[in-house]
Amino acid sequence: MDYNLFFQVLINGLSLGAIYGLIAIGYTMVYGILGMINFAHGDVFMTGAFIALISFMMSTLMPAVMPVAVVLVLVLVVSMVFTSVWSWTIERIAYRPLRGSFRLAPLITAIGMSIVLQNFVQIHQGPRNKSLPDIITGVWTIPGTDIQIQNKQILVIATTAVLLAVFSYIVARTPLGRAQRACEQDRKMAALLGINVDRTISITFIIGAALAAVAGTIFFVYYGQINFYDGFIPGIKAFTAAVLGGIGSLPGAVLGGLLIALIESLWSAYISPDYKDVAAFAILAIVLIFMPSGILGHPETEKV
């Protein structure tokens, strides 16, 4: 048993799980509050990665030379801000007019917006893969062992952990979080009690997009390349992660993301890289068949 490889695979899975988990939170929050699957969210993630890439390149053109850490923080913040604008706009244009109507209409609009966003980015940014040499290099060896962790992996996991803590606090403790949970339970009643439902929903989308932008920046830093189509598969996987963990539950989304990423990593390392998607989806199907509300979800009892 090659512990070195196993640990490596685990760390890879954790890093990937960070990305999936961050995107999954956006899905689960929107689903919790609006009951709709925001198909465009994966492409919002892709847009975040692009913005991170471009702003990073802009920073290299700056006359002053800044330390990498500062640049990365700047890039992160810029990406979060601008990606939030995208998500906010999509919500205003495509989802708000359809709120309260027919359930499938927002789904189709979301798919439409996903296609529009992908192709818009493709037309203006070109269809080819954009890649950069590694920004963060170097490894850190765990003292006393042979195991190496790449610095960028540490960065990914640390950033995710910090941001998750911040946003969990926001959702759980602040009035905004309360308003959000109220809207999830009963929108009409929340509105009657004076909560600005439109604003709460917009803020939900913004938070989701900000986290997706973080995921995008991480993706770009970690893999060093991005393509307009790269939002699609992670988007689907993140959504399955959200469902796996129990949709509507924030810790569930993160847990789901970690699970799917770990399964992928382990499967592709030990069995076959071709079928890693199959593994993730098969696990999802099996879990849902036996636990229809996901792992941490609350079962919905039908009122007769």
């Binding site: 390149m57 601008f82 189709i108």
Partner: protein, 522 residues
């Protein structure tokens, strides 16, 4: 702020202007934030394969202007649909004007600026704009047309409804003859019209009618329909290659296998609620796709499998003396096969329409719609909802299998790229856009969406004056599809045909308006 309030009280028109101006500026600012990175700073690979940024502030500014001007027009003309139509025009003019200017600049620099070509393009643009203007005028100021669009297409001409099926069948049967005789010079050219347009649209109609049974009638949200399509195609390929079965023998077998696959998937999965069902069916669709892509010994992997052509009652479509052409004393044309395929699919579709309409009136069809409305009530009436759902799923799967078999015969091969998630999405979009449960609405939606996409291929790249010097038409196809999806959904959330015709009536048949029906919870 104070001046704004004063204006409002004393001069409403001026207040409206300044209000609209304010909105326009806000929108322009948001547009700037949206587009500054994606449009204004494209990052692309230069000759040395390094990434570099080539600023395109012109396009950025153009888009910001369009957004601002559009929003201003919309607000100033009072908002709503009317405002949207009016806002369309400054947007279009700004869009074309900038690109025409760019084209002029780049052509002048390159020295290949030819006035006559530009004049021709200008003429085409002018005609298109005039047509759009006329359509917008009609739309805005003819209430009959507006109520027709807002209401139900079929409600305008009730008399035509009786003869419509017959007329449509007649039109469909004549179509290839019409194309060959009047539209193209020789038979070889007709292939484009018959194959790329007609057959492709009809395949999507078949898929959408099949998915309609699952999503539109029974209300089960299936995002993995493409799996059944793939089963049908690969069944034909495998049976044909390993056992030498002809297409005709494979067709019903493909349907049966697809139905079996539907039952197998459906059994554990159909008890899941609405959106969970969607994601699990999506997962199964992707699993099928991945297996098709990677299981090379059986499925041919990325290259796929070869499929024999269908035969005309045993006579193959080939060049030699045994071929179809020789048999009927004609010169061999590749188009013969396509025309043959066209008539096959028209026949299949007529059969399918008949079966589905019949099924809707039978108790099973009624139970599907009742399932969509309220599953608990169904159970309380003694209906076994599990078998009812399975039957819907299996029937839809069967039709998907037929479509897949036909598709394989048309393509001559079966490979995984035709069975990706996007196909499921396109079929679902057609079903929802057409109006769930309505065969005619879905057919119209397929013609508009797929036909539109194909038409966009036709735009000559010489139309760079309108779309920009580096215009590539293929990129705009999917963009059109996405935009059309969003716009149609916002305008008509229940699809083109939003009412349903009841399956049984006591006194007289009355259409049920869309807002009573429910889209189902799976």
């Amino acid at each position: 702020m104070n001046t704004r309030m004063e204006n409002f009280c004393t001069n409403p028109a001026k207040a409206r202007f300044s209000g609209a101006l304010f909105q326009g500026i806000c929108t322009a600012f948001i547009a700037f934030l949206l587009f500054v990175f994606i449009v204004g700073l494209p990052a692309d690979l230069n000759i040395h394969n390094e990434l570099q940024i080539t600023p395109q502030f012109g396009y950025l500014f153009n888009y910001v202007l369009i957004a601002g001007a559009g929003r201003f027009t919309w607000c100033y003309s009072g908002g709503g649909i009317r405002g949207a139509v009016l806002a369309f025009f400054p947007g279009i003019i700004l869009f074309i004007a900038y690109r025409a200017w760019l084209y002029y600049i780049s052509a002048a620099v390159a020295g290949n600026y030819v006035f006559s070509i530009q004049f021709g393009q200008l003429a085409i643009t002018a005609i298109m704009l005039a047509a759009l203007l006329a359509a917008a005028w009609l739309f805005l100021y003819s209430s009959r047309i507006r109520s027709a669009i807002a209401g139900n297409i079929a409600a305008i001409t009730p008399a035509m409804q009786r003869y419509a099926p017959g007329m449509i069948i007649a039109l469909l049967l004549i179509y290839p003859v019409f194309i060959v005789t009047f539209v193209v010079d020789n038979m070889a050219q007709s292939q484009k019209w018959i194959d790329n347009y007609a057959i492709q649209i009809l395949i999507y109609v078949m898929l959408a009618w099949g998915l309609n049974i699952v999503v539109g009638l029974a209300g089960l949200l299936d995002l993995g329909y493409v799996a059944f399509y793939a089963v049908g195609a690969y069944t034909v390929a495998l049976l044909g290659n390993h056992f030498g079965f002809s297409f005709w023998l494979c067709l019903p077998i493909a349907g049966i296998f697809a139905a079996l696959w539907g039952v197998m998937i459906g059994f554990p999965v159909l008890r899941l609620r609405g959106d969970y069902l969607a994601i699990v069916t999506l997962a199964f669709g992707e699993i099928v796709r991945t297996i098709l892509q990677n299981w090379t010994p059986v499925t041919g992997g990325a290259n796929g499998l070869f499929v024999k052509k269908a035969t005309f009652f045993g006579i193959p479509f080939e060049r030699g003396p045994n071929g179809f052409a020789a048999f009927f004393g004609m010169k061999f044309q590749a188009a013969h096969y396509k025309i043959f395929l066209y008539y096959i699919i028209v026949t299949l579709l007529i059969l399918m329409a008949w079966i589905i309409t019949r099924l809707r009136r039978l108790p099973i069809g009624r139970v599907w719609e009742a399932l969509r409305e309220d599953e608990i009530a169904c159970r309380s009436l003694g209906i076994n909802t599990v078998t009812a759902k399975l039957s819907a799923f299996a029937t839809g799967a069967m039709f998907g299998g037929f479509a897949g078999a036909f598709f394989a015969a048309r393509q001559g091969r079966a490979d995984y790229t035709s069975f990706v998630f996007m196909e499921s999405v396109i079929v679902l979009a057609i079903v929802v856009l057409g109006g769930m449960g309505s065969l005619s609405g879905i057919a119209i939606a397929a013609i508009v969406m797929i036909g539109g996409m194909e038409l966009l291929r036709e735009i000559p790249s010489s139309l760079q004056m309108i779309f920009g010097p580096d215009f590539r038409p293929e990129q705009y196809r999917m963009l059109w599809f996405g935009l059309a999806m969003v716009c149609v959904m916002i305008l008509k959330p229940r699809g083109f045909v939003s009412s349903r015709t009841p399956s049984a009536f006591l006194n007289r048949k009355k259409a049920v308006p869309g807002h009573f029906t429910v889209e189902g919870n799976g």
